[in-house]
C-alpha cells in the first residue's frame, strides 16, 4: 500500500510551527506494511490545496491529511476534498448533535459557523474526536482511502490510535511489530558484536541504533497478526536480553530516569543528589517520573563553591584537589547522602560552559555515587554547547547511578 501525507496550514509555511504530525504519522505506518512515498505541506490556499490533493489522490492508495478542519473560513480541507471528488457537502444530523453537545457540555455558545464541522460528503464517514470539536473523515472511493484529521497534535494522535489504526490493521496483509531494548554501557559496535548470533535473521530482524540515552537494539517481526508477530519476537528478545545482560535498562518508551526509579523502588532505596554544572537537571530528570517522590529525597544544586562548602563538602578537599575534580564529586555524593538522609548519594561537578577551568576542557564532568561504603566514579568531557553538555552529563549520571544500584543487590 502506497501512502502519502499532506499537512495543511499557513502557519507551517510561515515557519511559525514545525510539522511534527508528518513525522509522527510516518513512524506509525511501517507497522501496517504501508510505504510512505510522499509528504507535502501546503498553506490554506484553495488553488494549491486542490493541486496537491488531486495529485495525491491520483497516485497514492492512502492519503493522510492533517489540518484545515476548524470552524474558520480559512479551514477549507473539507471543501477541497468535496470539490475534488465532485460530491455535495451536507450537514450530518448525528455529527451536528455531537458538535452541539460538545459546546453545551462546556457552557460555550454555539456559533452557526461551527456547523461546518458537522458536514460530510457521501463517500465520507465521520471519525469521532472526543478531544475536540472537529470530527475526522474516512473517505473511501474507487479502492482508495483518504483520512482527514485535525492538525492539533493531541487530537490527531488520539483519533489515529483509536479509530484509524484498528481499521488499517483489519485491512493490512501483514503487520510489523517492534520491541526496542535500550542499553547503556557498551558502544554501538560492541552491541552489534554481542548480538551477532541473532543478526542473520530476517524475521525478526534486529537493528542497532546509537541514541542520546545509549544504544538501542530494535527487534522487528512481520506477520499476519500482531499476536503472531509477538510470538516471533519473544524468543529473539529473550536471547538478546541474555546476550546483553544487565546493560539493558528499559524497553520501548521507557526513559532512563524511569528505569532508575523502578530499580530504586524495587530495592527500597532513596537517593539524594548534589549537582553543580548540571544546575538541577539531574533532579529535574529524576522527578520527571510519576511516583518519584517515593525515592527522591532531593537535590542540592550547589552552583557556587561556597554553597558546596555550606552543604557539607569539606573546604580542604576543594583546596587540595580543585572544585572540578574526582575528589570533590565524591565528597559531594557523600555530603548529599549525609545531609538529606538518603541511602545513595550522587555528586556531580564539572564545566557546562565554554570556558576552560582549572586546566580542564569545556564539558568536563566528574560524577560519583556512594552508599557510604562503596563508591563508583566516572568522568567525561563532551562539549557541544552548554545545553548539550548538561543533557549528556544527566545521561551519564543516571547511567552511573543505575549501574551502582544494580551492583547493590549483587
Amino acid at each position: 500500500m502506497r501512502a502519502e501525507i499532506l499537512s495543511v496550514g499557513t502557519e507551517i509555511m510561515l515557519g511559525e510551527i514545525t510539522d511534527t504530525n508528518a513525522a509522527w504519522l510516518a513512524g506509525r505506518l511501517p507497522a501496517f506494511g504501508i510505504d510512505l512515498l510522499y509528504v507535502s505541506q501546503v498553506g490554506d490556499n484553495p488553488g494549491r490545496m486542490h493541486e496537491i490533493f488531486e495529485r495525491a489522490w491520483g497516485r497514492s492508495d492512502l492519503v493522510i491529511v492533517t489540518g484545515g478542519l476548524g470552524p474558520t473560513e480559512d479551514d477549507i480541507t473539507r471543501e477541497t476534498v468535496a470539490a475534488l471528488l465532485g460530491e455535495p457537502l451536507t450537514v450530518d444530523a448525528e455529527q451536528e448533535r455531537i458538535v452541539r453537545a460538545w459546546f453545551e457540555g462546556r457552557g460555550w455558545a454555539f456559533g452557526e459557523r461551527n456547523l461546518k464541522q458537522a458536514m460530510l460528503i457521501p463517500s465520507a464517514r465521520a471519525i469521532v474526536n472526543p478531544r475536540g470539536t472537529a470530527p475526522g473523515w474516512w473517505v473511501e472511493r474507487d479502492g482508495r482511502v483518504m483520512v482527514l484529521m485535525p492538525g492539533v497534535p493531541p487530537e490527531m494522535y488520539y483519533m489515529w490510535e483509536t479509530e484509524v489504526e484498528p481499521e488499517l490493521e483489519r485491512r493490512a496483509d501483514s503487520v510489523l511489530v517492534s520491541r526496542t531494548l535500550k542499553t547503556l554501557g557498551m558502544g554501538e559496535g560492541t552491541v552489534d558484536e554481542t548480538l551477532s548470533p541473532l543478526l542473520a535473521g530476517t524475521n525478526p530482524s534486529i537493528g542497532i541504533y546509537a541514541r542520546g540515552d545509549g544504544v538501542h537494539a530494535r527487534v522487528s517481526a512481520k506477520a499476519r497478526t500482531r499476536e503472531e508477530a509477538w510470538r516471533l519476537i519473544e524468543p529473539v528478545e529473550t536471547e538478546a536480553r541474555r546476550l546483553l545482560g544487565p546493560i539493558v535498562w528499559g524497553i520501548d518508551d521507557d526513559t532512563l530516569a524511569g528505569g532508575v526509579g523502578r530499580l530504586l523502588n524495587e530495592r527500597g532505596l532513596t537517593v539524594a543528589v548534589m549537582e553543580s554544572a548540571t544546575g538541577g537537571a539531574i533532579a529535574d530528570a529524576l522527578t520527571s517520573v510519576d511516583g518519584s517522590a517515593e525515592y527522591v529525597r532531593g537535590s542540592l544544586v550547589t552552583y557556587a563553591t561556597e554553597t558546596k562548602i555550606l552543604m557539607g563538602v569539606p573546604a580542604e578537599v576543594i583546596a587540595a584537589h580543585g572544585v572540578i575534580s574526582r575528589e570533590t564529586s565524591e565528597a559531594m555524593a557523600q555530603a548529599a547522602r549525609a545531609r538529606l538522609g538518603a541511602d545513595v548519594g550522587l555528586g556531580l561537578t564539572g564545566i557546562a560552559g565554554s570556558e576552560t577551568v582549572e586546566g580542564q576542557p569545556p564539558g568536563t564532568m566528574h560524577i560519583a555515587v556512594t552508599d557510604g561504603t562503596r563508591t563508583a566514579y566516572t568522568h567525561s568531557a563532551f562539549y557541544q554547547g552548554r545545553d548539550a553538555s548538561k543533557r549528556r552529563a544527566v545521561t551519564e549520571a543516571l547511567g552511573l547511578l543505575r549501574g551502582f544500584v544494580m551492583g547493590q543487590g549483587a
Copy 2:
C-alpha cells in the same frame, strides 16, 4: 519571489527524524519578501526525487533543497539536479582540495567516494561549509535559483546565514525586519489594548502573540535595505516600550532566565532557590545562562517533606498550613536565602503530578520570593501533564522573581 522547499532523506519518510529544517527555513524567508508556496519531503529514491525536483524547478523561482549531499551511494541530490538540468558532473579541483584538507586536518583517511562531494555542474558554484565536508551548491539558470544544502541542521544553519542570506538580501527588492518585545504580566487582550495607538500602522506593523513565556509584540517593517527598515522600527519600538513599561523583559531571542539574570547582575544581587514540585527545573533554567555562576548561589530541591525541614523550613509551618501552601512557599524562600547566603530567596511548593493533594488540584503551585524584608507571592493551578505543569511553574517563578527584583531598585 516564489519559493519551494524540498527535504530529502529516507529517515524522514520512516519517521526516524522530524524535518525541522523546513520550518526553520520557512521562518527565514519572509525577511526577504519571499513567499513560500510548497514544502515537500521525499526519500532517497531516484524516480521520486526526479519527479519532485522537476516540478519544483518548473513552478518556483527559488528552490531550497536540504539533504542527500553526503558521500554514500544513497546521497543522490547532486546527481538528480545534474540529470534534471542535463549538465555533466565533474570534480572541481578547488573543492577537491578543500574536502581533502578537511580529512587531513582531522587525521582521517580520505576515501575516494568522498570525491563526489567535490563535484559541480557548470550552472552551480560551491557554497563553502566550514562545519562539514559537503559544500552546498548555488545553482542559477534561466533566471531561476536552486540552493542545495546539507541536511545536518548546524551545517545547514551556518551555510544559510553566512552564504545564502547575504546573497538573497542583495537580490531582494525589499527586506522585512522584526523586533520582538517579550512581556510578562499582562494578558494578550490587555497588551493589544495598551498598544492600540500603534496598531493602525501598516509599516511598521505590530502583531501580538501569546507564547509560553508571556505575550510577544512583534514590530515588523519592510524597506529597501535593513538599515532603512530599522529606521522605521526604531520610533515605534520606543513608543511601544513606553506604553508597555516594565512588563517588557526582553527582546528577540532573549530567554526569561537570561533577562532575570541580567537584572540580578545589574543590581549586584544573588539568588537562591528552594523548589519542590519543579524538581530542579527552576535551577536548571537559571543556570542555562552563560555567566549565571555570578548570581546563582544554588537551589535546594527539597522533594521530600523531611528534606524541606532538614533544609530549614520550620516543621510548625508545614504542620499548621500543609506542605502545599502559601506559608510553606514563603518559609522555603526564606530558608533558601538564609541557608545559601543569598540576597534573594525563591520558594516553590506544589503538585506536578496528576493527583489531588491536601485538597488542592493537580498543577497547583505556590511561589514566593523574599529579600528578608519584602515578600512577593503568587499561585496558580495549571495542569496539562507533569512536564507541562513544571514548565509553566518555572515561567511563573521566573516572572515573579523578575517583578520582585525590578521593585527592588525602585
